[in-house]
Symmetry: D3
Subunit: 248 residues, 6 copies
């Protein structure tokens, strides 16, 4: 990654110089939660950061990457050991503080690059409130959601989205140390009311993840590959880059 | 609407009797916001209440309808005269108070029947927080979203969702007094960054509604009809009824 | 009710036109609480709205009626089935959001027309805080309190104020569908510490309503009449109209 | 004042012994605000404390006096130099902390003895919320309000209630150092909208005290006397003592 | 104490005159907590107020003393009867309200004179937040901490700091009524994990005071004297006076 | 680092197994703030994490390292480009959420290992509030403060503590990539009121870091060495390990 403004790796005189061209700050938002037996719990935080780094590099010298928010809203996973869940209000407080700090230094546009579906409602609320409260442009994106067509083509599982063929593939490409290749397992799905509360059902509602899957993953991680990951990630990065450019 | 437990129309001895069979409280959630020149601003509140009444009747004697939350999260519309927007935290506070009150009287399941897309992120956050905080089952549904297939079939406009062919049709069937039939107008859409921030775009973000449409509506209300409304509404009600039954 | 700016029944172009003359927004505030065996639980919300409509009509074209806040602060009634109580902080949050929204559109004076005694302390706190916080003029009124002399003349009960001769009379005139005429009952008062905590006692304090009355009402609703209601309501409206005019 | 449990003057072993008989904690609540040219700004705090001491003595050994909350809700007076106003939420936070602390030590009943009218709405809200939240009995009293009949008999001014004949008389009896006897002045009242917002008017609302009186006082302090103060105070104390006894 | 601006003892015209020269408000902050068998529980509040008065006198006519915050953050002492502990957020709310009130009247510098070690962390947080939030200069001082060298010279106990040789000496000089001279006791120290959590240990953490001392005091109060108190207090006052002068 | 329970690197079945012996969770808390021209802004976050890892390894199998809180309370540095400051309430919210999550999984003791002086007051407040609120043991430590004697011996600068001889030395040993060896500079100190507000002065207060040092560092980083860092770090780790053991 040749040139990229990565705030954690810069001194203040370097930041001062960068601010002459920077127009947008990119905030990686992840989670700390169980990802089944074959992925470590920092998965979402690392993937968000890796995507953020690549996107920031592509947008050089107009973008700057902030530190990663390495925990997120994960109440559904709390019954699996090791999961940490922040309240939605805590995540919004962190975002507010980051944005206020950097706005005082001249940045007026912000993009949260989010790897965890469970954060999306909180980000919707953040967009509705922080925009007017802080007087900034607030954007957010699910890391690879824009490559939905590639997923449709390459992912065989019908129910996927957590430590699945897609996510493990992305990790194999972006951060292979997240994966335990010798532990790959298919989701151990069980029956339950969750089926009738998924997106697309007439009603939605909270359920615990263990109601859906005994081993904490869905889809079929054994079908993941670095190649699938690469196609998803690179496609999404291309589209995200263009989408951010359109807002600068 | 023969039999239905509508809390606003009951005395306490009647509620006491009803609670012997009631298992779920249905909370209508609307908005108070501009709906273009052809619908009055209470549109969402009234449609949520009407849907709530019908759903409660179908679920008799297991459901009870609470008073309607007649304002919602509408910052996007604030620049149009008359719009009132509640903070997401205010809507969650109202939901908390309703649920706490009724839980103390024995109800443990709650469904928010929501007519306004702008409330969905707030409801997602509510589901993530109130479930554990209050020890209840919390469900929510967009009023007619489950009839998406009917919309695909009957609605011609590509971009619809606010004071459009669909919503006006629903109002013609459920509450025709909301519509000014002699004022029906097509959405006066204009170019803008909103196109690149809609659901399905690589990134999302806040924009004001007047960036998208000069007259405050989208789609083409001149193509609305009571018949379309009836098919959408009745299909949705059928599916919602079954979905709620599955949770009781 | 010929001319009156009722926000729930207006489109945004109509509101835009109205704002040329409107100087004050009138916010009806009610409650959702038990009213004994002879009144439905939406009583206060409906009465506040009806009073608000009439007052707004009298103040045409200088007043505009907002949506009704249809629940209020009712902890005293929570042990009666169906009662919903909002926290004082929730009611203040709703008021803040309404006022902020409409102030951004040019209105700078607000009157809360409140039908429920249990909201008065909250409104006092709202007046002390929202005035300076939002930079507006904030007024509030108990719906018919200004007709105290008429009540003294026409109401026979010594202890009245909730689902009593007065309130039932007002409802008979303003919204007869709130009353179950065949269920009218005198308050079933019992002894208790409440007697020593009423306004006028050396000390005040919280007590539950069932400590005071077994059937949830006080006074004697069997003595209510539409005629009494008319005199109270019309007298109060006359005085409220003049009082608001004095503030414009 | 022979025997009285005054917490500020006790050691912990003395408190431990007292708690064997104490059933109620009495919390003096005052204000820090202008009282015209003839009373010092701590007036309300001192009067509340003096009343609290006397009441606690009369209720010995069942009552215990807490430290005085020596500032209160005084936004109306903020434009007079020296006035300090606490937010209603701050006063409630202090009350919550005092009550939680002492409840953990075994006290379950609390009386706020309040000298400042501007605190009454906040105390009403406190009663509505802290009772259930903390599981205690919460009472409050305006220091001498129960001697209204004595005031009617002895006070000549029609408009009184702040640094007036009544309050100066009370201070002459309870804490004469609060009064500047050589500065006694009649209230310098002026016309204004305040007249139409006083208790008893059809509508209420916030106004600044200087809109009503140029010198910050009302009534006629030149007619105050220690004798009037004594009759008011002793009558009120007698009635408060009995009222509290009725709750133990 | 000849000349000193003590807000509790002034009328508003006197405050108005004083504000012509006043540059800083001094806010005494104490605590209400057990002080063993030989000091009353208001000890910290009284000592803070006495120090504040003397400091204000020395800084005449540039300083003004506000009312005393007579309770503080004392969770460590809550198991001793009579202790009242405010939440840190409550103390900060009180400070915010005092500062906002007086800033609106022209004061822009504030010094909290604090007698209680348990408040120091809260004051650190207050300094970090209120400075920017309110746009003021915010200073704080532990009452006699600046006389550390005198303490080193005159205090024999190794572990002191609460109702000890030092504090009792200060009280003998500043407010002898706080001390029960016939009850003076050495701290009844016991073994425990507290030893490894004191300032200076590798880790810090919360412990209850009774884990450290059975009678609630440390050090050796029997060695206290008015003379020691005088030297500590006067030395500290001299240094505080100079330190404040440097900030005006 | 052979064996150590590092939560970010574990799967949930691994955590489940670890929880059989784990007694304490260690939470690294850093900051994101300017560190002069010779250290990158993530310095504190990385040092806290590195210290946390080593301490966790030494305490194996009784300790578990949580994700790092990689931003902290840094208002003093906000005027230097790139600094991000969290509100104290935000940091406490994050701590609360981490502790609640892990307590629900069986951990009851928590140690925050903090590298940033500006977080200490917030941690003091956290200890005072979270202990009772969450029912846990809450400890905190400044990373190397326990090696004060080594610093006294090895550090020549009189004023040090931020991007100084000490901190750069620690980084050279723990995470040399944080240091720009070719940019090492002595602190460019200037006169100012800060000198009279430092710890040890009679009064404390907020000042901006640029009031003290033009280049954002103090001390003399040119005198730093890996060897000094090693002695400080290893000494501190030894003492922290023992101190934690004493609490298990």
């Amino acid at each position: 990654m040749s040139n990229a403004y990565i705030l954690t790796q810069m001194t203040w005189p370097e930041v001062e110089a960068a601010l002459k061209t920077v127009k947008i700050a990119i905030i990686p938002l992840g989670a700390h939660e169980q990802h089944g037996p074959h992925m470590v719990e920092s998965c979402d935080a690392v993937l968000a950061e890796e995507m953020g780094k690549r996107l920031t590099a592509r947008l050089y010298p107009e973008a700057l990457l902030t530190p990663t928010i390495n925990m997120g809203v994960s109440p559904h996973h709390l019954h699996f050991p090791g999961t940490i869940s922040l309240e939605p209000s805590t995540v919004i407080a962190i975002l507010r503080d980051i944005i206020k700090s950097l706005k005082s230094q001249g940045i007026e546009k912000f993009l949260v690059i989010n790897s965890h579906g469970g954060n999306q409602a909180t980000l919707g609320v953040a967009a509705d409130t922080l925009t007017a409260e802080l007087g900034v442009s607030f954007f957010y994106a699910k890391t690879t959601a824009s490559a939905k067509d590639v997923m449709d083509k390459r992912i065989e599982s019908k129910l996927y989205g957590h430590s699945c063929d897609r996510e493990v593939s992305e990790a194999m490409y972006l951060a292979p140390h997240l994966v335990r290749p010798d532990q790959l397992e298919k989701g151990d799905i069980q029956e339950g009311r969750w089926k009738k509360l998924r997106p697309g059902s007439p009603i939605q509602g909270f359920y615990y993840y263990e109601e859906m899957t005994r081993n904490g993953c869905i889809g079929d991680a054994t079908k993941a590959s670095r190649d699938i990951g690469e196609e998803i990630v690179e496609t999404a990065l291309e589209r995200l880059t263009q989408a951010v450019r359109d807002m600068l």
